[in-house]
């Protein structure tokens, strides 16, 4: 039998129909739904008199536009409140389980799926959200879709998809102290470019990947889309199975053993071919920060911001110059030391318990610098409870940071948490596009360690001295 990649095995197992020399009709095992990209899809079903084919394979949560305070529905602005209410109505009418405001399982869609054990190795998973790639950390083929396709999957549990090509991201070596999965993915995106992964599915491989815990793997896969790749996968292993075991929606008993046997066979076979490959040395990396307005425009926190004149093509040079101008960043100098207004720790990239623990390590016994607003937004109600049980909330509030309710919050600034024009934020989220965190706001992407250190310093800071001081 031909050697196959992890991606190839998952894809092949889900093809319901294949158009000759055309796209496949792919079966979807798990469909995650949120308030922003689903209302028009439910409306389409209603208009055509269709039902949701597999409500048992569909789960909804509220995250994008939900205020991150107690009683969110009472304070949401009129349009956000209407959108949240519409999700309740749609889920009731179509029989879709909803983890809404007040539900102990509510949280960011890509946090709660794995946390509740919905995400399994070998699955196909879609959601009307580009960061669906997060679930690839489990060896699932997971990717974002538009609202029309949300409708297709609701109605038929299938979608039309063209087989992407495969790209191996081989990461050797080991990450140094203070260097995290977030720094690694920013380095990978910088190496590939903002569009370098377009048309590909990434598979992250190598010693440095195997050494990562599940939450770090999710951080890595989460940002695959920022290099243009719709999906990024990691072969499931004992770390994966250890995370999933005992989760509410994970198989149990004999079914668990059978599942693990099956999942062990998913890893890429020896000798399987990738269409493209890149190699990264993890041990050479420093904490990374973005200096521009795409996640690919990143450099080491202690290294100089690259000179646009050295960028590859004319397009890249123009884009870099425009980005530096928007960010009010100077080429040739390190970003470290640049004053910050806001620090945001949260999002589907970095809002899990290990992220909060990392930030707390820096915050403990220190104070957020005067004039800096620091927000810590847990990814789910479950993470919030676990963090509070561990006393992390008290570490944050004692340092002067805000401890909020779960949601996407300032990553996408739809819920009232937003930068004001001109403000500079160090954020653990995934996008530094112009105005992403609020009209006229400027975003520097970084790890939870770097974000926390920057909050304490009042300026972009290398977290390593803060860790060494412990």
């Amino acid at each position: 039998m031909t050697a196959r990649t992890l991606f190839g095995k998952v894809w092949d197992a889900h093809v319901v129909a294949q158009e000759p020399a055309g796209p496949a009709v792919l079966y979807v095992d798990l469909h995650l739904v949120h308030e922003v990209t689903s209302p028009q899809a439910f409306a389409e079903l209603r208009a055509r008199g269709l039902r949701v084919r597999r409500p048992d394979r569909t789960f909804a949560t509220m995250d994008h536009s939900i205020p991150t305070v107690k009683n969110p529905l009472a304070v949401a602005d009129a349009s956000a409140a209407a959108q949240l209410r519409q999700l309740v109505v749609n889920c009731e009418e179509f029989g879709v389980p909803l983890w809404g405001a007040g539900d102990p399982r509510q949280g960011i869609v890509h946090v709660v799926g794995p946390e509740q054990g919905l995400t399994h190795p070998g699955m196909t998973i879609v959601c009307g959200d580009s960061h669906t790639s997060t679930h690839g950390a489990f060896g699932a083929l997971a990717f974002g879709i538009g609202t029309s396709q949300v409708g297709h999957v609701l109605a038929t549990q299938c979608l039309v998809a063209r087989r992407p090509r495969t790209l191996a991201v081989e990461v050797d070596g080991a990450l140094g102290p203070g260097v995290t999965a977030k720094d690694l993915i920013l380095a990978i995106i910088a190496a590939l470019g903002a569009g370098g992964g377009t048309g590909y599915v990434l598979e992250y491989r190598g010693a440095a990947i195997r050494a990562l815990g599940m939450e770090a793997r999710m951080t890595l896969c989460n940002m695959s889309i920022e290099a243009g790749a719709r999906a990024g996968l990691i072969a499931p292993d004992d770390v994966t199975f250890g995370y999933l075991a005992g989760k509410p929606h994970a198989p149990a008993g004999a079914a668990w053993d059978a599942a693990v046997d099956r999942w062990r066979g998913l890893a890429t076979d020896d000798g399987a071919r990738f269409e493209h490959a890149v190699r990264i040395d993890a041990s050479a990396l420093a904490p990374m920060v973005t200096w521009g307005t795409t996640p690919a425009q990143a450099c080491a926190v202690d290294g100089p911001v690259p000179d646009p004149a050295t960028a590859g093509g004319a397009d890249e040079r123009a884009a870099a110059t425009r980005a530096l101008d928007y960010m009010k960043v100077e080429a040739g100098k390190p970003l470290a030391g640049k004053p910050v207004d806001v620090v945001f720790i949260g999002s589907c990239t970095n809002s899990r318990l290990s992220d909060l623990e990392a930030a707390a390590k820096i915050f403990a016994g220190r104070k957020v610098a005067a004039g800096v607003r620091a927000l810590v937004v847990p990814g789910s109600q479950e993470i919030k409870r676990a963090a509070e049980a561990a006393g992390l909330d008290r570490v944050f509030t004692a340092a002067g940071a805000e401890w909020r309710e779960p949601g996407c919050s300032m990553c996408i600034a739809m819920n009232g948490d937003a930068l004001t024009p001109g403000q500079l934020a160090v954020s653990t989220s995934n996008r530094n596009f112009e105005g992403r965190q609020g009209q006229g706001g400027r975003t520097v992407l970084a790890s939870p360690l770097t974000a926390a250190a920057s909050a304490i310093a009042g300026a972009i800071a290398d977290p390593r001295p803060y860790l060494e001081a412990r």
Partner: protein, 197 residues
């Protein structure tokens, strides 16, 4: 909604000479707090409108139906609102050297044709349209080519080929509804569910 249909469009074009135009620029997230597709044209490039020299604000942009943009157009989020907003403004095609995957799929689904042409032809086309904003540009899905007048002679026509997934192209030319196509596969989906799940 009836399935979108597209054969060819000939119209004036607007040049937005920027690489990596992300969907947060095409339509900022604050415009996504809606449950319908109505009124999205107001959000199109909302944070870039009003900036000095922004091409969509120029009088010559009125009535244009083709947008010419830089590489990796539509990167970022999966929001179909980006394609809806472009279509609501009146665009029927976008010409760029390359497109982000999710945007390309969303655009095709709306009958907004993403035409990826060679960088050299793209640069030439941008120059022509910048110099003469009244230039009529054609995006022809049947012949899979972009055409424009590139000289004073009546026969001075420049052409650039583009590729579109053949299945999506046939759907657009014939006005096939993709959800309808999937619904017709009901027996095969049921059979798959019986075997695999």
């Amino acid at each position: 909604m009836p399935a979108p249909q597209f054969t060819s469009v000939t119209a004036r074009a607007v040049v937005l000479d920027a690489a990596d135009v992300d969907t947060d620029q095409i339509i900022p997230a604050r415009f996504l707090k809606t449950t319908t597709k109505d009124g999205l044209a107001a959000g199109l490039f909302a944070d870039w409108r009003g900036r000095p020299g922004f091409p969509l604000d120029e009088p010559s942009a009125a009535g244009a139906q083709i947008l010419i943009a830089g590489v990796n157009f539509g990167c970022g989020s999966s929001r179909e609102h980006a394609a809806w907003a472009l279509a609501a403004w009146g665009f029927r095609a976008v010409i760029a050297p390359s497109f982000a995957d999710i945007f390309r799929g969303n655009a095709l689904g709306q009958g907004l044709v993403p035409a990826a042409i060679e960088p050299a032809a793209h640069a030439k086309l941008m120059t022509v349209v910048r110099d003469a904003p009244d230039t009529r540009v054609t995006v022809d899905l049947e012949r899979l080519e972009v055409r424009w007048m590139c000289g004073p002679e009546a026969d001075a026509v420049c052409r650039a080929a583009f590729a579109v997934d053949p299945f999506a192209r046939r759907q657009l030319l014939e006005g096939v509804d993709e959800l309808g196509y999937l619904l017709k596969l009901d027996d095969r989906i049921t059979a798959y569910e019986g075997v695999s799940r």
